[in-house]
Symmetry: C2
Subunit: 261 residues, 2 copies
């Protein structure tokens, strides 16, 4: 797998089964999405949950009708085959991890594609900032907070945040850069003292890996796409499908097209 594949070529490799890996760093410059698929019975509540919590759940596209496998706004996509790895949940429990959901497809399923931090990390890197999880080659550290999401039906829970440390001037620059990208989590939700949002120990993230934080740096916290996954697990819908962590839906949208300014 070279890095020069276009998003369409990469999706073709995924569709044909020749690529099933992590999509981080692939098709640079193009938007990658978190994926949630739910039966129509739960879909409208989930959509309201996203609408009410746009920072952790920035909705980039929804399928036009139940059973529809296309997301034409994002590219020539068949959602049953174009993600390298899926997780299938039954009654809120992880049931299996598969490379193709054609055999699981139902005519009542609704597809949700949500913005992901890869897009804003690219903008931060392009500005010369050190994104610690990238420079240390690990997954970004993520933490459960004491910040309540606005509930919608069975979907509810605390916000999960990702953390990247910066010196103050770079933290200010990061706020400016990410403000331009509201559809991929937007500006940070917190910076400074982790305890103020219910995080006891930066060295022990709830998801991902710890990164180093220098004495002259502030931890900066962004709303994270794990939030809707946690809400999904708590809501325990009878059936649901998500992408596997790091195995994203790669789209034809350019990250720069998401900039509002």
């Amino acid at each position: 797998m070279t890095r020069e594949l276009s998003p369409a070529e990469l999706r073709q490799a995924i569709r044909s089964g020749s690529f099933r890996g992590n999509t981080s760093g692939l098709a640079p410059g193009f938007v990658q999405c978190n994926l949630t698929i739910l039966p129509a019975d739960q879909a409208s509540d989930f959509m309201r949950f996203c609408q009410a919590n746009p920072k952790p759940c920035p909705l980039l596209a929804v399928s036009a009708a139940p059973g529809d496998v296309c997301l034409p706004l994002l590219g020539d996509i068949d959602i049953r085959t174009d993600v390298p790895s899926y997780r299938v949940f039954r009654d809120g429990e992880l049931h299996e991890e598969v490379a193709d959901i054609s055999s699981h497809w139902r005519d009542d399923l609704v597809v949700f594609a949500l913005g992901c931090s890869f897009s804003f990390e690219e903008a931060l890197l392009a500005d010369g900032l050190d994104v610690r999880n990238v420079s240390e080659g690990v997954n970004v550290p993520m933490y459960r907070t004491n910040l309540d999401c606005t509930p919608a039906g069975a979907f509810a829970g605390k916000m999960v945040v990702s953390m990247r440390p910066f010196r103050a001037a770079d933290a200010i620059r990061a706020v400016q850069i990410c403000t331009r990208f509201p559809s991929v989590h937007g500006a940070p939700v917190h910076l400074g003292d982790p305890a103020l949002i219910g995080i006891d120990n930066l060295g022990a993230p709830d998801y991902g890996d710890a990164v180093s934080v220098a004495d002259n740096e502030l931890p900066v916290f962004w709303a994270c796409g794990v939030t809707p996954q946690v809400a999904l697990e708590k809501a325990r819908p009878p059936f649901a499908i998500t992408h596997s962590p790091g195995h994203m839906l790669v789209t034809d949208l350019r990250n720069s097209q998401l900039a509002v300014l």
Copy 2:
């Protein structure tokens, strides 16, 4: 003095000598400026100093030629009479404080009008943020930092900053709001640990008054218009005139007109 005077009416009251007070809160919605007046021999270095240090020295207008008393971009202004109080410096020393500089005017003087924090404070207040120096009814606390300005000729020195405390979410919002106003100091230059920019004691500002900072708040620091005044005092030009602190040049420009977005 009512608050309903237009900027032109307020300047007329100042010009006629019927108002000589602090302009804070007057002509709300309109831009007020810091004022520096220098002989042409020093003016080009000062202009380069402003250009090289736009955050502390945001230049809104310069007179068109030495000796020119007008600033048509800012209103129908006679700079000799339209500021309520002036400070006259000789060889860097405060010589006198006067209400009119007509008798001091020289045909080699160049006028510099610089943006002031009143404009961005108005934008913060309009967004519902608590601007502590306003809510506590005191002057904003200002501090000398260890941040070097870029020198130009004899003009040099450390940056002076103003401080307003906010909870993290409001600090992030303040970065967003002030980013829209680069010509009135723009986004903060620092937030969090004061020691990182050479400030030992928030309770003992070098200028202005201390304000309360709650445990769950971060101090947020903006480049301050006192910076060019300090550079001016250190450069010790043979002759200079500034406004007296708080006694600003009130212009016909609306604060909203300074927004770049």
